[in-house]
């Protein structure tokens, strides 16, 4: 999650997010160069004492400042398109999970091998333990194995929501009646937070997403726990 007063992007937890950070750095460099050029031009013009009142056109410079931005746009667009198609690539996913948006919580289904389903509600202020993040913690997290290619099918049950996890570079609209596919791969163990990103009603700001990336053995243990009827009953979850 972000630290207080953080301005930049969070550290990447997936290969796609790493590429997005590189692309962001590339475009930011181009923007800073252009901005510096503009500020320099403005400074020089303002501090100059010469005035030419009858300037109407300058065909050569107009051509130059059309062609050069076109080249700059190509320099930005080529990596952008490459990244765009990279985000859509799905490399033989080993696990498929479904994420369904409701007003105002998420429900998840792991139906590949077993039938695991649970709802994920935001923890209200009164239920937080000391040090928990307000508006971000949930009662049941999405537990996934690390370094595993996962397919996430995102949909909604009522209105449009959006399933987002910025650390993993993920954002996909959850549209009722439609299945959208996301490719997810966590590169490191950790907890990654996100929030609903499509206005969906009064509690739109209060339906977060939490992904817990764990080693495969821990994930298997979690699955066993979820399948165990007794522990499910104590956790008040359905199977």
């Amino acid at each position: 999650m972000a630290t207080p007063a953080q301005l930049g992007l969070m550290d990447a937890a997936s290969p796609v997010m790493e590429e997005m950070i590189y692309f962001h750095d590339h475009v930011m460099l181009v923007l800073i160069l252009i901005t510096c050029l503009i500020f320099y031009s403005m400074l020089v013009l303002i501090s100059s004492k010469y005035i030419y009142r009858f300037l109407t056109d300058g065909h050569v410079i107009e051509t130059v400042w059309t062609v050069i931005p076109a080249i700059i746009l190509v320099v930005v667009a080529l990596p952008s398109l490459k990244l765009l198609y990279l985000t859509d690539e799905l490399d033989n996913p080993q696990l498929t999970i479904k994420s369904v948006g409701h007003q105002w919580y998420w429900s998840y289904e792991y139906t590949d091998y077993y039938d695991i389903e649970f709802d994920s509600y935001m923890l209200p202020l009164g239920d937080l333990s000391k040090g928990d993040a307000r508006l971000l913690e949930v009662d049941n997290r999405v537990v996934l194995p690390v370094d595993t290619s996962v397919r996430v099918l995102v949909t909604a049950a009522d209105v449009i929501h959006s399933w987002t996890v910025p650390s993993l570079g993920l954002k996909m609209d959850a549209v009722p009646g439609r299945l959208n596919q996301l490719a997810l791969q966590c590169s490191r163990v950790g907890t990654f937070y996100g929030q609903c990103s499509e206005i969906c009603g009064a509690n739109h700001s209060f339906m977060p997403i939490v992904i817990e990336a764990v080693p495969v053995e821990v994930f298997e243990g979690w699955c066993d726990m979820m399948l165990d009827e007794e522990s499910l009953g104590s956790l008040n979850m359905k199977r």
Partner: protein
Amino acid sequence: MSYKCMTLLRPFGILPVGLSHVAHVRSFEFIRFFLAISIQNCRFLNTLSQKGRTMAHQLMRAVPRLVARRAFSTSLARAGGGAGGMPAWQVNPRNVYEDRPDFPMPNVPYVSELSDAQKALKAKEAGDWKSLSDEELKELYRLKFHKTLAEAEAPTGEWKTVVGGTSLIIALTFVLYIIQKKYAMPAMPETCNYEWQEAMMKKQLQMRNNPVEGLASKWDYENNKWK
């Protein structure tokens, strides 16, 4: 096309030339050609009738003449000022005195209606300038110009008003905000107090939050202190 048609089209400044002819002429020469025709047509209109001394007719005759003269030469346009008894600013709206530091050459003199003494001074100016005293030279300058270049370029101090007004409004905004915070806004949640923030940071360090360049990368886990 017959000569009669050509005569009818003359008042509009259009000669029935073919497009190919126009295309071969450079744009500037075409404009001069068009204006020359306009001037000829204005003279042609004048000869049409001696009637039409109403304002509308005078204007109709004056405008093409003035546009043509203005397009050719500034001095000719200025000489046209006051035509038909109209003041200079009515004839050409640009004939208004203005002190412009970036273009210190006004179109008209500052004082246009001279008193008898001023007229006498102007007549003296027509003679040898060495006979003019310093005071007379300054008087002549002030007849032509309102301010000297130095006076026109002198700072007005307007920036102080702007900065002062803006600062006052920002200060009032701060006062309003403090009043709102004290009396109207609800209390902050307990997650914003220092102990909770400290506990949150400890949890984030335990979770290895942002270990590459962010928070956890600044913590020395072996020695349990910041790097």
